[in-house]
């Protein structure tokens, strides 16, 4: 039978998981930006299957956390938004992946 201290100890890695990244839509955005230098909005829409509004909301949240850098520019007369991972975002995503791997590996071995 597990003790309370044992239970709280086993929950430590889960508690350390970044909830901001853990949300499926934001995780998808982060994962796509992790493999490229930068990407425009349309690219992320096509790749993730999200709607423009949905993507915009999630990107704003990740930008506010300092994980993403958003650059707005004009191509001719048309607006064009380019998004990239910041160093902080890159590190956060790697930490998230590592943390999740540890949790899932731990679950598997139990």
């Amino acid at each position: 039978m597990r003790t309370d201290s044992g239970s709280s100890k086993s929950q430590e890695p889960i508690a350390s998981i970044d909830r901001l990244i853990h949300e499926p839509s934001r995780l998808t955005i982060m994962a796509h930006l992790y493999v490229v230098e930068n990407a425009d909005f349309l690219f992320l829409i096509r790749q993730t299957g999200m709607t423009w509004g949905n993507l915009s909301v999630h990107i704003s949240k990740l930008e506010a956390a300092g994980y993403l850098e958003v650059k707005k520019e004009f191509l001719g007369k048309k607006p064009h938004t380019v998004v990239s991972l910041t160093k902080q975002g890159f590190r956060a995503f790697e930490a998230y992946r590592k943390g999740m791997k540890e949790i899932l590996d731990g679950t598997h071995s139990e």
Partner: protein
């Protein structure tokens, strides 16, 4: 929604998306057709002119037609290193097949006797390498088809130029079919239009 988080799978999906338009297939087709015409009419400048002209044309069309439909992402620098390795490999291959007989004054009889076969193999390997690098696996099929045409040519009375023209024509048609499907599947969306409809 089940998020895809495996970087390898995402990377593959991202790079594959850039070859949905078939423009590089058309480029390859035209390049081979150029070689065919060169052999037939003895116009040695033609493949180079097609290569340079169409290369810039494809890049321009990508900007004008593909990116407004599927967006654009800048690849990571790591892949640029791999590209350099692949290009170096192709250059070495070309050097071995083309320069070696020249250096030896044509004394290597084997290379002279099987010139069509070796030349075709070299092009087929180059096409397969590009397919590997760009992860467009239909190019393996193209490479195999090219190889077969040249093998057939080596041991038949078929004109050497047809070994370029026939696969070139097939690749061009494939590219056009892919481009047609792409243009129908992905309409142009601009941020301006979305902002207005929001």
């Amino acid at each position: 929604m089940r998020p895809e988080t495996d970087p390898k799978k995402i990377k593959r999906k991202v790079y594959m998306s850039y070859f949905q338009d078939g423009l590089w297939d058309i480029f390859l087709g035209f390049f081979l057709l150029g070689w065919g015409v060169t052999v037939w009419f003895d116009l040695p400048w033609l493949p180079g002119a097609i290569f340079i002209g169409f290369f810039w044309l494809v890049l321009g069309l990508k900007k004008k037609s593909t990116y407004p439909r599927i967006g654009h992402a800048t690849p990571t620098k790591q892949r640029n290193r791999i590209l350099k390795i692949v290009i170096a490999g192709v250059v070495v291959l070309v050097a071995i097949i083309v320069v070696l007989p020249i250096v030896n004054g044509g004394e290597i009889q084997f290379l002279r006797n099987y010139f069509e076969f070796l030349f075709g193999s070299m092009i087929a390997i180059a096409v397969a390498l590009i397919g590997y690098w760009w992860r467009i696996y239909r190019w393996y099929l193209y490479a195999g088809m090219l190889f077969l045409f040249f093998v057939f040519n080596q041991w038949s009375d078929l004109s050497f130029s047809l070994s370029f023209i026939m696969p070139g024509g097939i690749f061009t048609l494939c590219g056009l079919a892919i481009l047609y499907r792409f243009l129908r599947k992905y309409p142009v969306i601009s941020e301006e239009d979305v902002d207005e409809n929001r």
